[in-house]
């Protein structure tokens, strides 16, 4: 039991650091706590900043700055998909498009690409995730998305693309291609989320979205049935993803039903726990919608990326996820039941992803799992270490899901 209270220690540290008293004076003023206080203050004196001269090498500073700007430019290219694929040849028109929002430019670009590589574009339509031409298919879809001029049009297009992904799940499963089926199922979920977001956005700006919601409902009902049928014959490696897609789309279906039948939006959020706020989910300067939808979107990205196996991307998303989690904690209150529930759900999703992931991806996921653990009371309780031999900063409890059955 420490004799020195946190308050006393803080006061003594303040006196020492400000120069108002020396260590000896402070210790003399607190004879009952003298021994312990001396140790703690002497320890404090041994923790000093590095000297000012220790700075990064100027050559490193400069080269890292250049590398940072290049990485930012490269990421923008990659995220723009088609623009990145065709590099400098289309970068300028693409930027012009992005800034002016001129569908004409995108249309001309599409016409050019189809004319230049029409056969390739045609062949790409039959490709599945993992095929060489699948990137072309995705790129063309992004151009279509760029041409969509309104939230309703974007919702319509995402609905059509969701249907395409379901069809890909079917074909991939029939061909015994588990990875492709899994990737297509993830894509399906992503498009369904986008439909909901754009419908929400259109609704928030006063548009009549009843017809869209009804169509979404009908589509989801149909797709649920198709996925259920596919699930029975799917390769084992794709079953969990298809199952998950069904569960999530079932939730989407419920939300669509509630929105059509009842007081739109609000009830749906309460029931489904996934209110989709208006916003722009694409990677545009407007960014993702904020709040719960943002966290959910990030979680989906994170799980999908973890499945893809790119540890660097996972690590980057984890950083983004942690910031969004912090944000949500600030909004809802970290001790609130809803925040805890969100964290629990996210933890379970990530835990599954963790168990399927490779070593580097598992490592990249750990900070997110650790942060979520802190938010879930039953997981935050300290338990004995599991004997992991990993060096580095230890924790009072085993790092997340290692050793779980």
């Amino acid at each position: 039991m420490s004799k020195v209270s946190p308050e006393l220690l803080a006061r003594c540290l303040e006196e020492l650091e400000s120069g108002r008293a020396t260590l000896e004076e402070i210790v003399a003023a607190h004879p009952a706590e003298a021994e312990e206080l001396r140790d703690l203050l002497e320890l404090r004196l041994a923790i000093v900043p590095l000297p000012a001269e220790l700075e990064p090498d100027p050559a490193f500073r400069a080269s890292a700055r250049v590398a940072l700007l290049e990485a930012i430019a490269a990421e923008r290219d990659r995220r723009r998909g088609l623009w990145g694929l065709f590099g400098p040849w289309v970068r300028m028109p693409a930027l012009a498009f992005a800034r002016l929002g001129a569908p004409l430019i995108a249309g001309l670009l599409l016409a050019f690409l189809v004319a230049a590589g029409g056969g390739v574009a045609y062949a790409a339509q039959d490709s599945l995730p993992g095929d060489a031409l699948y990137g072309v298919k995705n790129a063309l879809e992004q151009v279509q998305m760029a041409l969509a001029a309104s939230d309703e049009a974007r919702a319509e297009l995402h609905m059509a693309l969701a249907a395409k992904r379901v069809e890909e799940v079917q074909r991939a499963a029939a061909a015994g291609r588990g990875d492709a089926a899994r990737a297509a199922a993830e894509g399906f979920l992503s498009h369904v989320g986008q439909v909901e977001t754009y419908v929400g956005s259109a609704s928030a700006s006063g548009k009549d979205v009843e017809a869209l919601r009804e169509r979404l409902q009908a589509n989801l009902e149909r797709q649920q049935a198709v996925l259920a049928e596919v699930l029975e014959k799917a390769p084992d490696s794709a079953k969990d993803a298809i199952q998950h897609a069904m569960e999530m789309s079932q939730k989407g279906l419920k939300r669509a039903q509630q929105a059509v039948q009842g007081p739109a939006g609000a009830d749906a959020a309460g029931q489904g726990g996934q209110q989709v706020e208006p916003g722009r989910p694409e990677d545009t300067p407007g960014g993702r919608p904020e709040g719960r939808a943002d966290l959910q979107a990030l979680l989906q990205d994170l799980v999908a990326t973890a499945r893809g196996g790119n540890a660097e991307q996972v690590s980057s998303l984890v950083t983004e996820f942690l910031a969004a989690l912090e944000n949500e904690g600030a909004v809802l209150g970290k001790s609130s039941a809803s925040f805890t529930e969100h964290c629990r759900g996210a933890y379970n999703r990530l835990e599954q992803a963790y168990e399927r992931a490779s070593g580097p991806v598992q490592e990249a996921l750990l900070p997110a799992l650790t942060a979520l653990e802190e938010c879930v009371p039953e997981r935050a309780a300290p338990v004995p270490r599991d004997g992991s031999s990993l060096p580095g900063p230890p924790s009072d409890r085993p790092t997340p899901p290692r050793g779980r059955p």
Binding site: S5, L9, E42, L43, E53, E55, T319, A330, P391, P393
Partner: protein
Amino acid sequence: MEEAVELGQRGHAPVDEGPLVEAAIAGDAQAFAQLYDLYVTRVYRHIYYRVGRKEDAEDLTQQVFLQAWRAIRSYRRTEVPFVAWLLTIASNAVISFYRKNRPTQPLEQDVRSSSAGGLWADPEGEALARFDREEVRRAILKLRPEQQQVVLMRFIEQMEYPEIAAALGKSEGNVRVILHRALLQLRQLVAR
């Protein structure tokens, strides 16, 4: 009073980072590069203290800024100083670094023994001190991540309690308690 002089270098020159941060959030890479110019040294030094090797500190510093760029749109509503947010990312990066099976590095010998400023500000003080600074540094790296973060933000980054509390989403009282426990834990670690 020598300690007080050494420890009294609290705070950093105030910089109006607001417009740069806003521009960076809006997607302006050049504005972000200016934020890099402002904070690269501080992030590097923070990381260097924890990893002890120039090459690792450089790699991680680069990684932190790239991650910060990717996440910057989430920063908008966190309401903590930008540098504190960067240091939180740095902290996560260091934790990941150590999880990749690397032993804690002693600080580089040439930096430790350099007479041109030395690693530590007062080599004489170090010689007379009861605790060896390098030993204490290594002990800090054995604390729980949260304790490490508070100790480093307070004693190395010389951040005030309210700043640390905002950065970590905790109350000031909570930060004091974490610091108290961390020092008690350190005392045990260096006594072994």
